[in-house]
């Protein structure tokens, strides 16, 4: 086939031929075609099957409202289900396939559903499939699930890239038809920053689809000239292929720009689509209107289109959908289809006009007061049966029918803030609500101004109003002359005659009968109607069908349409690719990666890294010959405790706190007292939330009279900083305190073990003997011949330990220097696993214990909460429920048989107690293997735990069906007196 239905004219580039396939068959088209227009040009009307009954369907429209012609575009990982053929821009090599059919589009076995349709009325599934109960998941539902769905994803990663971005303008104009172009021209000439976005690849809107003139030009030429003029203006950004998705708060609009969908694949480095957030002071909705159909029996055959879409195909795409065409209309706009097509040399069989009044079209068989009552043609329209005003019926042989029930303004975005659309009796359609998004106005057909003149006029007027609000100079441009004909619509929603089905929502197969059934069962609220029948729930979001359903329900219940209900819209305006919404944040780039100062060095050592929040930290450092992680970790722990180990602890939050009131401030934010801490000393601090639960812990060092350095846990660095600012600004605004994070500024290493001092003394320029730098000392020092550094004598491992910090850029060099200095002691680097082992051996709490549910008392730190001063959380930590004698207490746990491994998350049960909640004693929070104790050991929260030390219980993991007999011990497994860290 070679474009047998291609006619003269149109806005396609006939100098180039594009090849494409549909269901494997090769076809050709031209630049400027959509997939649908090219298929129609090739005589292909059948493009899809409906959702429920698998009815054969062709395109209903030529735009984004399309319910029927949806295909799988492209193949392989780029396969894109449910793509509207009516807006898919043709490119060379395009491959498309029909979907939701088996084995083929023309012969679909699931078409059996259509024969069984009496059994599948609206909501039938709520009334059956209930017996026996177990059959739902096993039998009924799997069948339904397999049959449902539309297109398919390939299960391969989307290979394309997506971008996001932010645009700013004075005025955003949505839609580049006559109203949008006129508005843009007006605003741009006044000097405003304007963005003009249009979902189409060719700007001009209906001007491209009509034969109407603007000024002395054809509408399409005027649009092209105007676009060319605008493109020259630096204050205008033209964004074709850009759909404004939604109106967010305060003038923010979301939009998606399809950068590469018209190309076989995106150019290297270029995104497929970009999600824009557009920040605008004003917006003008000029999104046009969507034609609506009339429901009648078998109104869903391929070849039956909206009347305006027949014009679009003929005028813009140079395609005759059929060579013998009828038009069914209740308004004057539908008549244009007949005159336009006839002018193109297409045979007009008849215009079936439901109205009695009005003039007859010259030279065309124009039937007044007539209706289409049935059609024939299984895979494509062959004939229509009409009922004349005098009651006579007649069958006309036609292969295309245009239907016009009027035009609905595309007000969707204007109702995104839940404003109710307003019924307009002049055009018998809803128009934008009065309470729409602030500073959004509507112009042109979107505002209900349906003529070209009215579009131009309201476009200019709304632009001027926006300019005035912006304080910019306005001028009323000379409006080019254009038609200003009224619609002359007499409402007519559906043909009552006939026993067959008249389709409202063509994708979801909702019929007039379904609406009647919903009425019969009292699902009369418009929301109940939609939910019960699935009206408007398909991929076209009910753009053509919703109003029909509403109107029919209104008629059935004897109410007006606005009384029956209105439909408000939610974003997105048309469905939007998930990839665009995700942008660049996916795969390894899902979140930024934070690397420690020693990362490069650790990677050279072959370290295994682990995600800790956004950080990557060395988890352990395998050595040659070590085959399990335990071997590495045991070695790191044993060697640290035997000699010395080094660990990068930069990830802990560091907050610089200065000011005359810093000490008093710390007394407020910590449960214990800090203001008495001498200069040059560090103290462990416990920070509570106001509800008395522990928020964070860490050490804070007093570096000077008014200079303090707080450390936080890695996880809480950001929330603690926010909390400190809250306390400083909102609670104690007159405290002289200044805060800034220095987490990233310093590379900080823990040096732990009996030889820590010896090692460090080789790099530190000052004397750090126990006398000069005792336990819990801190100070500014220099290292390696004069580099400024900080030293803290603190220990998480329970060993003689220091934390040393240098400016981050020197962290890499420092760890190399320290490892070299430590060679004589056999110094090891250790990772987070060993850190965890040593802290559990020492009984220090960490993330698993600081889980936001536990108190200082739970942790055995109840005495730290000073009641002599006010501090955040002090009062509410005293509530009875948090102070029960038999409440949870931190304990240590050892297996009675040291060879038995423990599992974190196991629960405590008494020996012999049944595994039921009433016997639940608590749980194991952290489990490590202690090479020192040669046993799995754990920390846990146990009810009345302190009193149970020495007793035996079971640690039960019901998930793995294991249990271990354990002894409850002190959480301080290792060096409970703390001799080593003071050594």
């Amino acid at each position: 086939m070679t474009q047998e239905n291609r006619i003269k004219g149109g806005q396609i580039d006939r100098t180039k031929t594009l090849r494409f396939t549909f269901d494997g068959h090769p076809y050709t088209g031209h630049p400027g075609d959509t997939l649908a227009s090219a298929l129609l040009a090739n005589g292909v009307r059948l493009m899809g099957r409906s959702f429920k009954y698998h009815r054969p369907r062709g395109p209903l429209s030529a735009g984004s409202e399309e319910p029927n012609a949806i295909v799988e575009l492209r193949t392989g990982a780029r396969q894109e289900p449910n793509t509207r053929a009516t807006v898919a821009e043709l490119f060379d090599g395009l491959e498309a396939n029909s979907q939701n059919r088996f084995p083929s589009l023309k012969f679909d076995l699931m078409g059996i559903n259509d024969r069984l349709s009496p059994f599948f009325a609206a909501g039938f599934y709520y009334k059956t499939f209930m017996w026996p109960a177990a059959f739902w998941e096993k039998i009924y539902e799997p069948i339904i699930r397999r049959a449902a769905g539309l297109g398919s994803l390939t299960r391969e990663e989307d290979p394309d890239q997506y971008d996001k971005g932010f645009l700013h303008c004075d005025i955003l104009i949505i839609g580049a038809g006559p109203a949008g172009l006129m508005a843009t021209l007006t605003a741009a000439r006044a000097g405003a920053r304007v963005i003009l976005a249009d979902e189409d690849f060719r700007m001009g809107g209906r001007l491209n689809a009509e034969t109407l003139t603007v000024g002395n030009h054809s509408g399409a030429d005027w649009a092209e000239d105007t676009v060319r003029t605008l493109a020259q203006m630096p204050n205008v950004r033209l964004m074709p292929r850009t759909t404004v998705l939604g109106a967010m708060d305060h003038g923010i609009y979301s939009a998606v720009e399809r950068v590469s969908d018209h190309l076989p694949i995106p150019a290297p480095g270029k995104p497929r689509q970009i999600l824009w957030r557009i920040y605008s002071a004003h917006a003008i909705l000029a999104a046009g209107a969507t034609e609506r159909p009339i429901a009648f029996e078998n109104n869903d055959r391929p070849g039956i289109l909206l009347a305006g879409s027949l014009r679009t195909y003929a005028n813009r795409y140079a395609v005759a959908v059929g060579d013998r065409v009828a038009v069914f209309t209740n308004n004057d706009d539908g008549l244009r289809t007949a005159t336009d097509l006839q002018a193109k040399g297409i045979d007009i069989a008849a215009v079936i006009d439901t109205r009695q009044e009005g003039d007859l079209l010259p030279g065309i068989r124009h039937l007044k007061g007539a209706q289409v009552i049935d059609t024939k043609g299984k895979l494509g329209l062959k004939s229509i049966t009409i009922r004349h005003a005098n009651g006579r019926s007649e069958t006309l042989s036609v292969n295309a029918l245009g239907v016009s029930g009027g035009w609905n303004p595309n007000l969707n975005i204007a109702s995104h803030h839940r404003g109710r659309p307003v019924w307009n009796d002049a055009i018998h359609a809803f128009t934008p609500p009065t309470g729409g998004p602030k500073n959004l106005t509507a112009a042109g057909a979107a505002a209900g101004a349906l003529s070209t003149h009215a579009a131009l006029q309201t476009g200019a007027a709304q632009a001027n109003a926006a300019l005035e609000a912006l304080g910019l100079k306005t001028h009323t441009p000379d409006l080019p002359k254009a038609e200003d004909a009224p619609l002359n619509l007499t409402p007519f929603w559906y043909v009552g005659e006939g026993k067959g089905r008249a389709w409202i929502d063509q994708q979801n197969d909702v019929t007039v009968k379904d609406v009647k059934l919903a009425k019969q069962e009292n699902f009369t609220s418009v929301e109940h109607l939609k939910r019960y029948t699935t009206l408007g729930m398909a991929t076209d979001q009910g753009k053509t069908g919703n109003i029909l359903g509403l109107a029919i329900m209104a008629e059935l219940t004897g109410r007006s349409i606005p009384q029956t209900g209105t439909t408000i819209y939610r974003p997105p305006y048309t469905p939007v690719a998930m990839g665009a919404l995700a942008g660049r944040s996916r795969g390894p780039e899902f979140k930024p990666t934070r690397l420690t100062p020693s990362h490069k060095w650790a990677a050279e050592q072959g370290a295994i890294f682990v995600e800790v929040g956004m950080w990557l930290r060395a988890q352990w450092f395998p050595k040659a010959g070590e085959t399990t992680w335990r071997q590495s970790v045991d070695r790191e722990v044993l060697q640290t405790r035997a000699s010395v180990g080094i660990c990068d602890v930069t990830t802990l939050g560091k907050i610089d706190i200065q000011g005359c009131d810093a000490g008093a401030f710390l007394d407020r934010v910590y449960a214990n007292t800090f203001s008495t801490l001498p200069i040059g000393k560090v103290r462990y601090g416990l920070m509570l939330r106001e509800d008395g639960i522990v928020m964070d812990d860490g050490t804070t060092a007093r570096m000077g009279e008014n200079e303090w350095v707080m450390t936080t846990t890695t996880a809480n660095a950001v929330p603690v900083f926010r909390h400190l600012e809250y306390v400083r600004q909102c609670l104690y605004p007159d405290m002289d305190v200044q805060l800034i994070s220095t987490t990233e500024a310093w590379a900080q290493f823990s040096v732990a073990g009996p030889n820590a001092r010896k090692l460090l003394q080789k790099v530190v320029d000052q004397d750090i003997s126990d006398a000069a730098f005792p336990y819990m000392a801190c100070g500014n020092i220099t290292v390696c011949g004069g580099l400024r550094a900080r030293l803290f004598r603190i220990s998480f491992s329970g060993e003689l330990a220091y934390e040393i910090a240098v400016p981050t850029r020197y962290g890499d060099a420092l760890i190399r220097e320290m490892m070299k200095a430590g060679e004589e002691f056999g110094a090891v680097a250790y990772g987070t696993e060993s850190l965890g082992v040593m802290r559990v051996e020492k009984g220090h709490v960490a993330g698993n214990e600081l889980n936001g549910q536990t108190t200082a008392l739970n942790m055995g730190l109840g005495k730290m909460v000073s009641k002599k001063k006010d501090s955040i959380g002090m009062v509410l930590s005293q509530r009875e429920g948090l102070n029960a004698d038999d409440g949870l207490r931190l304990v240590g746990v050892k297996p009675v048989d040291p060879s038995k491994p423990l599992t974190a998350g196991s629960h405590f049960l008494d020996i012999g107690a049944a595994p039921v909640a009433a016997n639940d004693g608590g749980w194991l929070t952290s489990v490590v293997y202690s090479p020192h104790l040669k046993s799995s050991i754990a920390l846990g929260y146990l009810k009345n735990g302190t009193a149970r030390i020495g007793q035996k219980m079971r640690a039960v993991n019901l998930l793995a069906k294991t249990e271990v007999e354990v002894e409850i011990v002190s959480p301080h497994f290792f060096d409970p007196e703390g001799d080593r860290l003071r050594g």
Binding site: Y279, K438, R722, Y726, Q729, D734, V875, L876, Q878, R879
Partner: protein
Amino acid sequence: MIINHPLLGPRDAQEFTYLGDAALIDRPDGMAFPDATAAQDAFHDYLYLRDNPAGEHRELWFHEQGDRSWLVVTRNTVTHEITKVEFARDVARSRGRSK
């Protein structure tokens, strides 16, 4: 949403972190009560109970990805319209808070 920062002008709300009702500024003094029950009663009401109005709401936002100011934003919870933005520090002072 856009919050019109007193110094920086309009900024996307995404730069901010939300806390809640600005009444959290009115924290009781934990040492000012005759007994623990009275203190806990007062702190319970302060921390847990909310007006939660459908309408104008004064609330705390932290310009976390900005200048680190805590702001009191007066915003309508039905329309999201923002009618006033103040530095929380100024509000706290005006409500008698000091050190």
